[in-house]
Symmetry: C3
Subunit: 336 residues, 3 copies
């Protein structure tokens, strides 16, 4: 891959935008989130939740809407900052073509000692599989993955390129790691794809059930931290972080960039909005739909999720409501 780079002015020209507080010949070579950016990074700011990060970023250039003003931060003001970012990502971080091989294991793959592959398991170029790891038939590992020791992946598990998996991780059948996050910039009602340039990082001692989907980050990683346990059919969106020793029951759906502290527990079918922070040790009862940040040690339920006691009270009231309304009508008629 040749080194890709664009000067700030070139970017401004291509994107039809205006540079502010940025030398036109600044060389930009990559895209990064605001809090991890360096002077060579293009970043973007479209969600006011991250204003603080934007004001303190080290990014060489931040894409913003034309009405936005980040003060002294080097900015490129454009009509649609998110779409501009999608384009910049395509230029600076283009998705490489897949590299297929003639047999199931690419000659440039590295299999550790005692590693066992079922018939038809495939391992891509430059992927490294740790000692004693077991890949059942029909497991597919793409290019540039790193898988630790003593893992076991069941049939149909798919790792997209650049996935990182720790030691002693068990992935059950047909679980997908690293699929594209659901990111589109809408331009005149048409969804333009935002290239998903990040990866998935699954730490040691994680177990994940069958038919679960873990999307890779748009930038940077989606993380499943040490010892977390996820059940079947969970949906983990891009840039989610699941904390250490979380326990996530089946059919959970965690929206993009939401962060679960350590030891968070979900009952079945829990859903969350995106960009939330769920405090350490929070418990979300089955089917809870979490739309707000949760303080440490919360216990919530319901749709929308609220403290469990409050939810119980409102449900009890709701159940009594038809009778109460009838009674009110009777009284009101008596008084009339």
């Amino acid at each position: 891959m040749t080194q890709l780079a664009l000067k700030a002015q070139e970017l401004a020209d291509r994107l039809g935008g205006t540079l502010r507080h940025c030398p036109p010949d600044r060389l930009l070579t990559t895209v990064d989130p605001l809090h991890e950016a360096t002077e060579a990074s293009v970043s973007f700011f479209t969600n006011s939740k991250y204003r603080d990060q934007a004001l303190h970023t080290r990014a060489g250039l931040v894409l913003v809407g034309t009405r936005e003003d980040l003060g002294e931060v080097p900015q490129l003001a454009v009509a649609n900052a998110y779409f501009a970012f999608a384009q910049a990502t395509g230029w600076l971080r283009p998705e490489p073509e897949p590299e297929f091989s003639d047999g199931p294991v690419h000659p440039a793959a590295v299999l550790g000692a005692g590693c066992r592959l079922g018939w038809g398991a495939t391992v891509g170029a430059r992927s490294v599989i740790g000692a004693r790891t077991i890949l059942h038939p029909g497991v597919h590992i793409a290019e540039d993955c790193v898988v630790g020791e003593d893992c076991e992946f069941y049939p149909g598990v798919a790792l997209y390129r650049r996935s990182v998996v720790g030691a002693r991780v068990r992935l059950h059948a047909n679980t997908v790691v690293g699929s594209d996050g659901f990111g589109y910039a809408t331009v005149d009602g048409i969804q333009m794809k935002v290239p998903q340039a990040g990866w998935v990082d699954i730490e040691d001692d994680v177990e994940i059930g069958s038919n679960t989907s873990i999307d890779r980050g748009a930038l940077g990683p989606t993380r499943i931290r040490r010892g977390a346990k996820l059940d079947n059919q969970c949906q983990i969106a891009h840039n989610v972080q699941v904390g250490e020793h979380c326990l996530i029951a089946a059919q959970a759906g965690i929206s993009g960039s939401t962060i679960l502290g350590d030891h968070v527990t979900f009952g079945g079918k829990v859903g969350t909005a995106g960009h939330l922070h769920l405090g350490r040790g929070s418990v979300c009862a089955g089917n809870a739909m979490v739309a707000k940040d949760l303080p440490e040690g919360s216990f919530v339920s319901g749709y929308l999720a609220r403290p469990h006691r409050e939810w119980l009270a409102s449900q009890a009231a709701l159940n009594r409501l038809p009778a109460i309304l009838k009674e009110l009508r009777r009284k009101s008629e008596e008084q009339a």
Copy 2:
């Protein structure tokens, strides 16, 4: 496949029914939905929502319940019209046996120029794969499929026979296209399978996440129109139509025959009933459960889904309800 055909009277005899307004020697060679039927078609009418279609159908024979009367329409009145239709479908549109080959690519498959297959990807008889399309390891394309140019299918994607996919379509790992719709006619408490004789038609520029299921039509197609984007773990039932440039977040479930207009947006975990029409540009908030048709440009939420403002108001009222009931009780005691 030999030409299959039954005379109307033969059908009546086999199904134990009575012909009305239909010449007994009319030759019936296929099954079709009411609005697409021709004189050679058997169709059926069991859902009053489609009465208008039934009264104006061109079908050669419509299966109806014995208490039903469609006037001059050629009818076959039977005890269980849906089960009769299942049987007729089995006779006139029998599922062919799968045709396996000795290698991953059937000799009668056609691969376009620059098409690339990962190790172990399989392509069935008479399937045509467009130029430059990439099939990752473990992709399985059955017989008689048509896939356009510049597509990319990730590991474990499965296309059932007769699936049609346009150009530049991306299907993520372990997504299934064309599985049997969930159709059973219940006879004495036993579910009798209704053969699913349709197919799936995915148009150009569609992207679909991982572990999603798109069932084929019972008759005719399930359609995902141009430019639509579906996230992971969506469930698209038989004969659904997803409009152009719809944006459907993860874990949505769209029930049979529901039609989404263009530019419809779903948050995560949205569910819909079957046979609905969701107007162009409708927005369904996360977890909404849609049980009614939606006019163009609707914005709904809740369970059951209603206009978002109404839902917000009812939620606010519900949250205050326990306190209000307490207050009412206090007043009522004061008055007593």
Copy 3:
């Protein structure tokens, strides 16, 4: 596999517990649920719902918490009975290593007459596939499975070891049978895996949609009984029983050990708590969240699920609530 056995006193020593009413040299060779245990079985009691089973078990030794007392039943009292059980299971029922072969079909597999395999379908050691059964490309059957006659499994279906499937069963693409149940004993905030020593038993004439997950039992089977039909993306937890001719629509989630009587019907996205009994012929409307046992012939809806009429009444009342509260406020101000 050498015969594994531990004396009661050895178990007590390893687990740091106290024997009660149990001869220290009793030989224990297996683990079993309370109601199926014999004198050679270790069992456990942690859920008061099963007290009656515990008091009448024939188990040679029951693991209980130190504060628990089961009278004359042979007990081993330990600090964490569930974790102790996990350890005992690991000692007495260790998971065997997978046995891979050089080709897709293990030499010790048995394929019935007329059985057809797509390219790349794999069958493990000692698995027996019935006559005329069709395994599409990419189906993976592990060791020691039994599959009946005239089945059809679509691409990507995975059977874990010891799965049992009857005749005429259709499993759609990427459905998983026998993945590990979600069982962990929490010790100081860390989830310790409870080995899942059971299996899945799918009876005759069952059809299961695509991307569905059926976990194997923790002990004993998870059962899908004769003629049941499950749609796409259903999640069936360990030790669930789905009754004969049940009809389960897409995206259902049934929690561990819940039992569905025969002819139960679920709309889409239904969820249930664990350890419930849903009576024969019950109907759960779409999106219902069932948290209690249901008597025979129930019809429930809502979150939490209650009788459908009650739920309709509470929804109607809820919709009117904002207007009613306004009216109450007005009256209250008039009186003031």
